[in-house]
Amino acid sequence: MSGSEIVEGYTPNFEAWIRDFNEWQTRIGFDPSWLGDYRFDIKFDWDTAGDSIEFGDFKGMPKWERRMQIPQQNIRDAIISMVSVQGDTEFASVEQQNHLLATAPTEYDKKSALRIMCEEQRHGWQMAYLLCTYFGEQGVREAAKLLERNAQDGTRILGSFNAPIDHWLDFFCFTHFIDRDGKYQLKMLSTSSFKPLAASMGPMLKEESFHLGTGANGLRRIVKQGVIPCELLQKYLNKWISTGLDLFGTDDSTSAQWAYVYGVKGRYDERESDIEADRGHLNEASRELYFQELREEMRRISAARKEGEPELFIPSDKFNRGIGNYAGKNFTIHGEKFEGSDEEYKAYLVSVLPTEEDENKLMNDYMKREWIQYREWKGN
């Protein structure tokens, strides 16, 4: 196998899954006519996938190209689980976002969001294709579940993908913070010992960069316009960043360690790093890189603010965490231990996270004005 490839023919398993997919689109209210001439191609970039296993206990051996080459059932299970989680997030995000098309602030934003939703669905197809094509009955069952779980019912695998995205500020935060986590996950899988999974990541990462760009530019355009006060924007940043940090998983994770031992999932900077991996703290290492990237991005976004507006910042990684060593502990957005009772902490959270009153003000006042810098859609 070499070079880039678009798969032309599908297996009966995957053909059957496509019929379920069409029903899923109808069920969630995504009109297929919105796709225009967009095609859900299955794309592999074999060139960047690598031929030999790059890390872990199987390092140096040829990458596995078929299920039967994978030496142990628990490794197959780990791969199936990772592909399923990835696929689950792709479909979930479309369920969370498609209602926003009707209220897009500009044609540019509507078309950008639509492109993102098309590409997320393609990524979901890619993951379902891997499951149906390489993992037999077990894969077919997992692929079916990708369309059965639903963000509206709160049954998607990861918490962030069950959270409602009520308006376009949440959409831009989601694409900036949560899709950025997606970029990390995809890059960590791009060095996988299972070659079809590694080869799937290149084309997905190319598309993902547009999603992140949409989020970052959206936030910058809001800040530049200066209608929504930075103080309020900060509350939304506080809300989404802790969610993004949680997506990296638990501290001292043994499943991340096993995935590394199997060569299934590497570090974010696996190919660039020349130091040995700290196998006991893999999630923490990736999370730290993500956190640094968020800080740099926020400096660029904040630089666009109007005179007199407070600087926007990334809250501490200890604040409002649901997973990891700081989960359930009371920290301020600046990372200091909160001195006070749990009741007082609840009151503090109200002051730093969006409240119902904030949501009302945002949607019924600020968003009724020219709240985001206009950008024209230039596509044909």
Binding site: S4, D45, D47, T48, S190, M201, G202, P203, L205, K206, S209, F210, L212, G213, A216, N217, R220, Q373, Y374, R375, E376, K378, G379, N380
Partner: protein
């Protein structure tokens, strides 16, 4: 011309360029001469309905002299900017001699009104040549030469690895064109 360029394409030859694309892009796009802030402003400010002032702003950013066009020529070009559909370039053939005489100016208008068309630039052409895509030198807006130039950049977007795709607020054509310009300038 376009087909010859694409059939002779050697992906291996692009590798050194792709490996350095990010660095090359910053070198060119963020250079003082390119005035990236002004460029990014134009991405937003040039919008329908197009007027002469917008064309003037593009000319100014490009460092071009004042357009010596009659009003009806300007109108004809503006109408073409509405009508043209990427990646078509044949419409350029219908222009009168005056607008056709300057490919840099016309390509810049196309770039800022559509974002998908790339700005014509001699260094970029040299950059393409270094990776094996030979596009003839020209100052005139020849639809076939410009078409080959645009298609070549489009092809690079298709074959480039994901590491080339920055989350930068510029269209991907600009990303590749800028990097090619810096690459073309190198000895």
């Amino acid at each position: 011309m376009q087909h010859v360029a694409l059939l002779a394409f050697d992906k291996e030859k692009c590798k050194p360029f792709f490996d350095r694309l990010t660095e090359l892009f910053y070198q060119h796009h963020h250079s003082e001469k390119q005035n990236s802030e002004e460029y990014e402003k134009l991405l937003y400010m040039v919008k329908k309905p197009y007027d002469n002032k917008m064309l003037d702003m593009i000319d100014q950013w490009m460092g071009l002299g004042k357009r010596e066009w009659r009003e009806e020529t300007t109108r004809e070009v503006k109408l073409a900017l509405y009508a043209i559909r990427y990646p078509d370039t044949l419409l350029l053939d219908s222009f009168t001699e005056n607008p056709r005489s300057d490919i840099r100016r016309l390509s810049a208008y196309l770039h800022f009104t559509h974002h998908t068309y790339a700005i014509w630039d001699e260094d970029t052409r040299k950059g393409l040549e270094k990776i094996g895509i030979k596009i003839p030198q020209t100052e005139v807006a020849d639809p076939f030469i410009y078409g080959a130039y645009v298609s070549a950049i489009e092809l690079l977007k298709d074959v480039a690895p994901f590491t080339c795709f920055l989350e930068h607020d510029v269209p991907r054509q600009r990303l590749f064109q800028s990097a090619l310009a810096a690459y073309g300038r190198e000895e």
